[in-house]
Symmetry: C2
Subunit: 154 residues, 2 copies
């Protein structure tokens, strides 16, 4: 089964759907405040991508392209994607929604870094992500995992 991954717009409907996700936090609250204060327009772009099942948002992630000059993870420095808030609603897990989102992220041709929640180790291994060498000053409480695009003819 293939799922359609959609770029999510910031509007009241999306922000209401976000409340169902465990990792609802300062990012979503800040988007809501900006919308209410007319600092951002309805249907503005967001860093979120999601999958709808019927008309219900059941899976989502955030993606942001970090510029090479801010890169602390990849050598030589290169632009990469930070992936966060990957989450599938409990009733929709184990059906490939998370995999579909990560595969979507892999198709931008950039390396990816993520800092997964505890207890998702097997999932990220299946997705070919590997742990970085831990550096305290950089990583603090993070458990960074990285993925590199395949290179042709290698």
């Amino acid at each position: 089964m293939t799922y359609k991954v959609e770029k999510l717009k910031v509007n009241y409907k999306t922000l209401e759907e976000f409340k169902r996700f465990k990792e609802y936090g300062l990012q979503e609250l800040s988007m809501l405040e900006d919308l209410e204060a007319n600092i951002i327009e309805n249907d503005s772009d967001s860093p979120f991508y999601g999958i709808y099942f019927g008309d219900k948002l059941v899976a989502r992630m955030s993606l942001y392209q970090v510029e090479a000059k801010f890169n602390r993870y990849f050598n030589p420095p290169q632009d990469y994607l930070e992936l966060w808030k990957l989450e599938v609603l409990p009733d929709y897990q184990h059906r490939g929604f998370g995999t579909a989102l990560v595969n979507f992220a892999k198709c931008f041709g950039l390396a990816i870094k993520t800092n997964p929640r505890v207890k998702s180790k097997e999932f990220w291994e299946r997705m070919d992500f590997t742990p970085v060498e831990y550096e305290m000053e950089r990583d603090l409480g993070e458990n960074p995992l990285v993925w590199f695009p395949k290179e042709i003819n290698k």
Copy 2:
């Protein structure tokens, strides 16, 4: 009741006790590997502080002083403490262990930044931590909270 907060040394006993905490991750694994490979000595310093109840480690946190030049949270730039992996074992919660650790961190005279786990909002409010203004490029999936030392005569 007052609890004694101790700086934890890196040794096999401490690392074994760390396995009981939910947020066991790359940081602890890296310390274990370094110890096994003799890259660090037994009883080396660690960024962890903890509280023992009897001879059992029941609460812990990590603290690291971030230099002003790397500061992205406080204005004007100043050294501050990053606090992470604050955690109390389930059977020992609601007895003041977490509070004791945070109060200990407050006594260094530096501002503190932390990125708490979801669902600890009330605790951090009681501890006088406040949310920063969310900035996506900087905060990504974090929910940063900050605390400032009181100033005399203000």
